[in-house]
C-alpha cells in the first residue's frame, strides 16, 4: 500500500511539474516593450545578457549567468535577465527546449524587433550588434560589454565596480 502511494505521489508530482513547465509562457517584446518591462529599482543591479540558442559563444558562457542568478536567487540586489534574440520560428522548437534542458534559472525574455539599427545604439553606442553582449545597470550607472565571459568571478568583478 505504502509503495502504491509513493508511486502515486511521484506520478502526481511528475504530472504537476510537466503542467507547470507547459504553462510557462514566453514574454515576447519589441524594443519599446522591453524597455518598459525592464526593472529599474534603485538598489538593484540588473545584468542583461543578449544571447540566442544558435550562438555558440553565448551558450558557452551561459553557465556563469546561471551561477550568478542562482547565487542571488534570494537576494534582490542582483538580477539576471536573459534577452533571447532567437528567431520567432524557433521559439518553440529551440528556445523552450533549451530552457528546459538547462533548467535556466534567470528569467528569459524574447526581443523580437528586426530593425535592430533602430535600437542597438540605445542599448549602447559601442555595440556593433554581435552577440553575446551584456549590459550591467543600476540607476543611471551602466557598463556594456560586447564580449564573452569565462567565469562567475569575471561577472562578479564587474558587479563589484558598481
Amino acid at each position: 500500500m505504502k509503495q502504491k502511494l509513493l508511486v502515486l505521489a511521484l506520478l502526481l508530482s511528475f504530472l504537476g511539474s510537466t503542467f507547470a513547465q507547459e504553462a510557462t509562457e514566453l514574454k515576447v517584446f519589441d524594443f519599446e516593450e522591453l524597455q518598459e518591462y525592464l526593472p529599474r529599482e534603485e538598489n538593484q543591479l540588473v545584468v542583461l545578457n543578449f544571447w540566442a540558442t544558435w550562438c555558440k559563444p553565448c551558450v558557452k558562457e551561459m553557465p556563469y549567468f546561471q551561477e550568478l542568478s542562482e547565487k542571488y536567487a534570494s537576494d534582490e540586489s542582483v538580477r539576471v535577465i536573459l534577452v533571447s534574440l532567437d528567431m520567432e520560428s524557433q521559439l518553440e522548437t529551440r528556445l523552450v527546449p533549451f530552457m528546459k534542458k538547462h533548467k535556466l534559472h534567470p528569467e528569459v525574455v524574447v526581443l523580437d524587433d528586426p530593425d535592430a539599427n533602430r535600437w542597438i545604439d540605445q542599448v549602447d553606442p559601442s555595440w556593433s550588434g554581435a552577440i553575446p553582449a551584456t549590459l550591467f545597470y543600476r540607476g543611471d550607472q551602466k557598463k556594456f560589454f560586447q564580449k564573452s565571459f569565462h567565469s562567475l568571478e569575471e561577472l562578479e568583478a564587474i558587479i563589484q565596480t558598481f
Partner: protein, 194 residues
Amino acid sequence: MKYFLAIAFLFCSFAFVQAQYQIGDKVDDFSLKSTDGDLVSMSDYEGAEGYIIIFTCNHCPYAIAYEDRIIDLHNEMEPKGFPVIAINPNDPKVQPDDSFEKMKQRADEKGFPFKYVLDDGQKVYPKFGAERTPHVFLVDKNRVLQYIGAIDDNYKSEDAVEKEYLRDAIQAIKAGKKPQPATTKAIGCTIKTS
C-alpha cells in the same frame, strides 16, 4: 625606468587598438581564394563602379537568412558595376561549419553567382573592422569606403523590409552623392577566432 615603462605601455596600447577603416578611407585590395578555385581581388573586376564586400559565412542563422537576398543583389547589381564579394572571416578551426570545403558545398547548393572567398589567416576582416556576420562594406570604384552596416532593416522577412540601406547607398554612389546613413547596425554572429 619609469619612462621606459610608460613608453612600453604606450606601445602595448597601440598594438591592441588596430587601425580600422573609417568611412572615406581608401581600402587595400586583397587576394583571397574563392570556392571556384580563383584568387579574387577587387582589381580583377574591370570596369567596376564599386564593390559590395559582405563578410558572411555558412553557419550563422542571420547570414543564412540573407543568402537569397545576397544572390538577388549580385544578380541585379553586378551588371550595373557593383559585384558582390562574399568573404568568410571565420577561423574554420573554431567553427568547422565554415571550412573551405563546407563553403564550396554551400556555394554549389545555392549556386552562388558571386565569389565566395575565405579570409585565410584572418588578415583582411580586422582591417575592415568587421565585427559580425553578415557585415557589409560598400566601396566605390576608387576603393573608398562609403557605407558600413546592414543590408536592410528586416532579417526575418524580405517582404517586410522598409529600408533598403545597402541599395540606397549604392544609388547614392551612382548619383555621385554620399550615402545617408553611411553606417547602420544589425544583430549578427561574432566572428569566430581562436
